[in-house]
């Protein structure tokens, strides 16, 4: 009873709350880091160094008036933010945050579940998230959101192909689709997959930026051209849901990249006797540290790089990333067959 219901439910509650709190603080982190990159201070008013800014933002968004445009499709207009938020959250079901820990005399695994199609689950749930964006643009009955949502969905679908093809080569390396097994495979091979699959790592990183609509691929919400993108007509809490979904997706991408390429909860040089002392740091701490590095990298890239043009974006996706991904997969397969 405790093992089948109580512990999973507790884990779900903890993971969802931690995610939402993490997401709100991601917003603060992003504003701070970009401010520092531009020699500004960023939010400083609410609490010391603006540490309570997310609370103020949340209160503001919740008490704002929630407007539905008159000619909008009310049903879809309400459903769209929910559709984009839910996939961003349910992905966390398969992400392993750490290995086992013993709590109150009970061995607890630090992931909600480990299904044997975990990686495919992540990809497929992410692919369902596109609907939120398309429907938001369509339901708003307004031209900028419609243009933005067409751009966004075309971008997401194109880069999804490249990312999925790249992930296959990681699966070939690990021999399993389960996230936990992929980490274990890195433990057994004594090396993180980032060193065995550097090309795949770069491709997934670029694809992940595009999948989360982050700069330099943030065309769907280009303020200068589209007045904010597919959520132009949204206000209040429904706008906040889109915003939170975007940041939750960023955390998903960084967690997945960490799991697949940086050994998840493993310390550097896993399973090497000389570096055994690294295991004194708890596994979840390694995971959080590595994910944080990626989140910081995302913000850093946004502060550094200018935005792509739309045709450049499509060319990059279809004519560069996908061919490289296929070549990488073929080479991986050949090497794997020859060496094993």
């Amino acid at each position: 009873m405790v093992d089948t219901f109580v512990i999973p439910l507790l884990k779900i509650v903890i993971v969802l709350n931690a995610t939402l709190v993490g997401v709100t603080y991601m917003v603060l982190l992003e504003r701070k880091v970009i401010a520092w990159a531009q020699s500004r201070l960023g939010p400083m008013r609410v609490g010391p160094y603006g540490i309570l800014q997310p609370v103020a933002d949340a209160v503001k968004l919740m008490i704002k008036e929630d407007i539905t445009p008159v000619r909008a499709d009310k049903w879809l207009f309400t459903a769209a933010p929910i559709i984009s938020m839910v996939p961003a959250l349910i992905v966390y079901a398969v992400i392993p945050f750490g290995s086992e820990v013993s709590l109150f005399g009970r061995q607890v695994t630090l992931y909600i579940t480990d299904i044997n199609v975990g990686l495919l689950y992540v990809v497929s749930v992410a692919s369902v998230g596109v609907y939120g964006i398309i429907l938001a643009g369509y339901a708003s009955n307004s031209k900028y959101p419609l243009l933005a949502s067409l751009r966004a969905s075309a971008q997401l679908i194109s880069y999804e192909v490249a990312v999925t093809l790249t992930l296959v080569s990681v699966v070939v390396m690990a021999g399993s689709l389960s996230m936990v097994q992929i980490v274990n495979a890195q433990y057994n091979s004594h090396v993180w997959f980032v060193f065995a699959q550097p090309v795949a790592f770069v491709l997934v990183l670029i694809g992940g930026l595009a999948e989360t609509n982050r700069a330099p691929f943030d065309l769907p919400e280009a303020e200068q051209e589209l007045t904010g993108g597919f959520h132009t007509e949204y206000s209040g809490m429904r706008f906040a849901l889109f915003f939170l979904a975007e940041y939750a997706n960023m955390i998903v991408v960084s967690s997945v990249v960490t799991t697949l390429f940086l050994g998840g909860w493993l310390p550097p040089f896993p399973n090497v006797a000389a570096f055994g002392f690294l295991y004194y740091v708890p596994s979840w701490a390694w995971f959080l540290l590595k994910s944080f590095v990626f989140l910081y990298l995302f913000i850093w890239i946004r502060a550094t790089l200018p935005r792509y043009r739309y045709d450049q974006l499509m060319n990059l996706g279809w004519k560069v990333l996908i061919p490289i991904a296929i070549a990488n997969l073929v080479v991986t397969g050949i090497v794997r067959v020859l060496l094993l």
Binding site: D73, W75, L76, A79, I115, N116, V117, L120, Y121, V123, S124, V125, S127, V128, V130, Y131, I134, L135, Y138, L146, L150, S153, I157, E160, L177
Partner: protein, 169 residues
């Protein structure tokens, strides 16, 4: 017991959303109901122990094919309602009658199977365990040629779609 409850809930939702797909006035609503319907079908597959197929259903159907439909519905933005004109020769009642007859026919066959269940076949053991591994093993051994043909079919369909949809080549 749990299996029965799960089946009836999932089956009920599948049928409800299928009816909504067919009866929805606006094509966009129809597409949304279709996605939800496919997600429930995926849940049914998962409950049948076909988790790989369930995920493929979500990935390919819900995340790929239906997005195409949504795109086309948005591109085909009509100034007049799409069902404004009805062919006078159309026989809608006949359509309902034919469908009902077919349901009856399949139902009879199914209930015949219920009365006289087929003997259970011995399971063919694959050299691998796990649903994904088993499906993969079959795809790349016994069904390799159909698999390759399917990939050729997809390639041809892709080229065909480009040729059809492009304004000028």
């Amino acid at each position: 017991m749990g299996e029965a409850i799960a089946f009836y809930i999932i089956a009920g939702f599948i049928l409800i959303f299928a009816v909504l797909v067919v009866t929805a006035k606006e094509a966009v609503h129809s597409v949304v109901f279709l996605v939800i319907d496919f997600l429930f079908v995926a849940a049914l597959y998962a409950s049948l122990g076909a988790e790989f197929l369930a995920i493929i259903q979500i990935l390919v159907y819900a995340g790929g094919i239906v997005v195409l439909y949504l795109f086309v519905v948005m591109l085909v933005n009509l100034k007049r309602p799409p069902e404004a004109y009805a062919d006078p020769h159309r026989r809608t009642t006949l359509g309902f009658a034919l469908s009902a007859a077919m349901l009856l026919e399949i139902g009879v066959i199914a209930s015949y199977g219920y009365v006289k269940p087929a003997p259970a076949l011995a399971a063919v053991a694959a050299p691998v365990t796990g649903n994904t591994e088993e499906v993969g093993w079959l795809l790349y051994t016994s069904y390799l040629i159909p698999f390759e043909i399917a990939s050729m079919l997809l390639l041809v369909a892709m080229i065909g779609a480009i040729v059809l949809a492009k304004r000028e080549l």
